[in-house]
């Protein structure tokens, strides 16, 4: 065996080794699935975030929302949003006992949009995706803005003559927004 043949054999062996390693390694991609079209994404991407991302065009007034609520919501949530426990939660009630944010001390205090929810946009997002109970996802964007306006006004968060659209909804600050804190539990010996 000449040195040249020996070295080309070694090279071939090295190439084979690299190739077989690459075969066992995780490839960058498996080439599975297909591209999602913008239309497909738009059809499912209905989430709205507190910074306004995802809020659609449209608008609705408190008065329009109040009328819609009587038509589509009050049979479960009550005429004044008092709810029917435990299946249909109370929606309205801003510190009914003047209790502040004392939920940890008294399990009987009912959580409502007005006394607990930290973000106004959440009302829009949830009503849009999940309500009404008998026909989830059936409301138009204008109807969802109107119902959001009604619920926020009933909780004395916005004025009774307000109209909401994406810009005004993002500006609504919920009364107890600043009470929500990050999880500080880290395991170990300290009980939190």
């Amino acid at each position: 065996m000449t040195a040249a043949i020996g070295s080309s054999l070694l090279l071939a062996l090295a190439v084979l080794t690299v190739a077989s390693c690459a075969g066992r390694d995780t490839p960058a991609r498996y080439e599975l699935g297909r591209a999602a079209t913008p239309q497909e994404i738009a059809a499912l991407d209905i989430d709205a975030a507190p910074d306004g991302h995802g809020l659609p065009p449209g608008h609705g007034s408190v008065a329009e929302g109040a009328a819609l609520f009587q038509q589509k919501c009050q049979q479960c949530h009550g005429a004044n949003g008092e709810g029917m426990a435990p299946a249909f939660p109370a929606l309205v009630g801003r510190d009914p006992k003047g209790e502040g944010f004392a939920f940890a001390n008294d399990p009987k205090i009912t959580k409502t949009i007005g006394n607990y929810w930290p973000e106004a946009v959440t009302v829009f997002d949830y009503v849009r995706r999940a309500m009404p109970h008998t026909a989830p996802g059936s409301l138009s964007n204008d109807e969802v803005y109107a119902l959001t306006a009604h619920l926020l006004a009933a909780n004395k968060v916005i004025a009774a003559d307000a109209t909401l659209d994406s810009a005004s909804l993002v500006r609504v600050k919920m009364p107890y927004h600043d009470r929500f804190v990050k999880d500080n539990r880290r395991g170990g010996s300290e009980l939190k």
């Binding site: 995780t26 960058a28 991609r29 498996y30 599975l32 699935g33 297909r34 591209a35 999602a36 497909e40 994404i41 499912l44 991407d45 209905i46 989430d47 709205a48 975030a49 507190p50 910074d51 991302h53 435990p86 299946a87 502040g100 944010f101 004392a102 939920f103 940890a104 001390n105 008294d106 399990p107 009987k108 205090i109 959580k111 949009i113 607990y116 929810w117 930290p118 973000e119 946009v121 959440t122 997002d125 949830y126 995706r129 999940a130 989830p136 996802g137 009470r179 929500f180 804190v181 990050k182 999880d183 500080n184 539990r185 880290r186 395991g187 170990g188 010996s189 009980l191 939190k192």
Partner: protein
């Protein structure tokens, strides 16, 4: 009347009750008529060696003498609890694994179901269920626990609570699926992404925001549980599995993952699944389940006699593996290390046993878990001090069973 006839009659009654109950259980769902009439259990002979047994069957059934059941409550939006007192080992049979859902169990055709990944990715993708199943798969054992598990026993412990009532919103299974980071790599995660939204295909289109670190760590997209496809109640055909994190984040009927730069503040992570604290704040995005244990046998409503008993139960932690379980038979005055069955797996139930000789005096049995971060399961009083009685989720207080002098056991939740 002979004993044989009595037993046959009882078996017939059980069978009849099951049949009578079936249409109610299926109410509101489309019922497919069965082509073969249900077969009643055969009579039970005095001597089973003198009679040919039952033929083979397509699907096995439990003995008619063994009837573990979940305890469903709530209509549509409800829960059903795992009968912990009826189970041994650590794997929860899939049909007894607890259920919790907020808009009922959807019926989904797996041939039509898709999983979309979009947002801050280089290539937005749609996967069929078959696509997902072609990625490299892993099988791992993890518990799932609803973060409301134990609320009733924490707020208002009562002597007539069973293990199922006290802690039945947990189950432990062998899950098969693909690591989420593999699916995300296929779509190409943008450097700016730090959170993702997971969305389910049920009637409330359930959504939770999850830090991207969890996807890169141990998150899975699973399609099988304990060797068979997921059951509808557990998310068929696809569910997110976030080991050690509160049950609600393990989004079932998973249909969409959107990558972004901040959480979405969905209803479930704001008005629900947040923890009010005595200082007037509420802890949000509190994902990890704290270390916990419960003696599942003996327990209410059983009665024991003097002599040796295995005091056995389950322990788990959302932060890692259980390092130690201690059992007390004297209401916490002294503790002994229980035997752990096998090497505890991270974020999975481990079975423990402490062999105990009851001498006929009133006793209180307690268990206390320690995980591998050094976290020790707290007493109820200690937990109330830091969380308040009205806090809403994450209950892992020490619980146990009082043994009365006559051998009756009662829930003991006040330690």
């Amino acid at each position: 009347m002979k004993r044989r006839d009595l037993l046959a009659g009882a078996a017939g009654l059980i069978g009849g009750a099951v049949l009578a109950g079936a249409p109610n259980a299926a109410a509101g769902q489309q019922r497919v008529p069965s082509s073969t009439p249900p077969v009643l259990p055969p009579p039970i002979p005095d001597d089973p060696t003198k009679l040919q047994g039952a033929p083979t069957s397509q699907v096995g059934t439990r003995s008619t003498f063994v009837t573990p059941t979940r305890t469903p409550y709530g209509e549509v939006t409800g829960s059903s609890l795992t009968p912990l007192q009826d189970l041994t080992g650590t794997i929860t049979p899939a049909d007894l694994h607890f259920e919790r859902h907020h808009a009922g169990v959807p019926r989904i055709d797996p041939a039509k179901h898709t999983l979309m990944i979009h947002g801050l990715v280089k290539r937005p993708l749609v996967f069929s269920v078959a696509d997902v199943q072609r990625f490299p798969q892993v099988t791992r054992t993890y518990f799932v626990e609803c973060s409301g598990n134990g609320r009733a026993a924490y707020r208002d412990p009562k002597p007539d609570m069973t293990p199922q009532k006290v802690a039945g919103l947990t189950g432990n299974s062998e899950w098969t699926g693909v690591p989420l980071r593999v699916l995300l790599a296929e779509a190409g995660v943008e450097a700016s992404a730090s959170w993702f939204l997971a969305e389910g295909g049920d009637a409330c289109v359930m959504t939770r925001s999850i830090p991207l670190e969890k996807a890169m760590d141990d998150a899975l997209v699973v399609w099988a549980q304990n060797g068979e496809p997921l059951r509808p109640e557990q998310g068929f055909p696809l569910r997110l599995l976030l080991p050690g994190w509160e049950g609600n984040t393990n989004v079932k009927w998973l249909r969409r993952l959107e990558l972004g730069t901040r959480p979405w503040a969905t209803r479930w992570e704001t008005s629900k699944y947040t923890d009010p604290l005595p200082d007037g704040t509420a802890r949000q995005y509190s994902f990890e389940m704290d270390a916990k244990s419960i003696i599942t046998s003996p327990a209410f409503p059983r009665t024991i006699v003097k002599g040796w008993w295995p005091v056995t139960g389950l322990a788990w932690s959302g932060r890692g593996a259980i390092r130690r379980v201690e059992v007390s038979t004297d209401n916490g005055r002294s503790w002994a290390d229980a035997e752990l069955h096998g090497t505890p797996l991270a974020k999975a139930h481990v079975r423990f046993t402490h062999q105990w000789k009851w001498d006929g005096t009133e006793s209180v049995l307690l268990s206390r878990a320690t995980d591998d971060t050094g976290y020790v399961q707290p007493t109820r009083a200690a937990l109330i001090k830091v969380r308040g009685l009205g806090t809403d989720f994450h209950f892992n207080q020490i619980v146990g069973w009082r043994v009365a002098a006559d051998g009756h056991l009662f829930f003991h939740g006040e330690s």
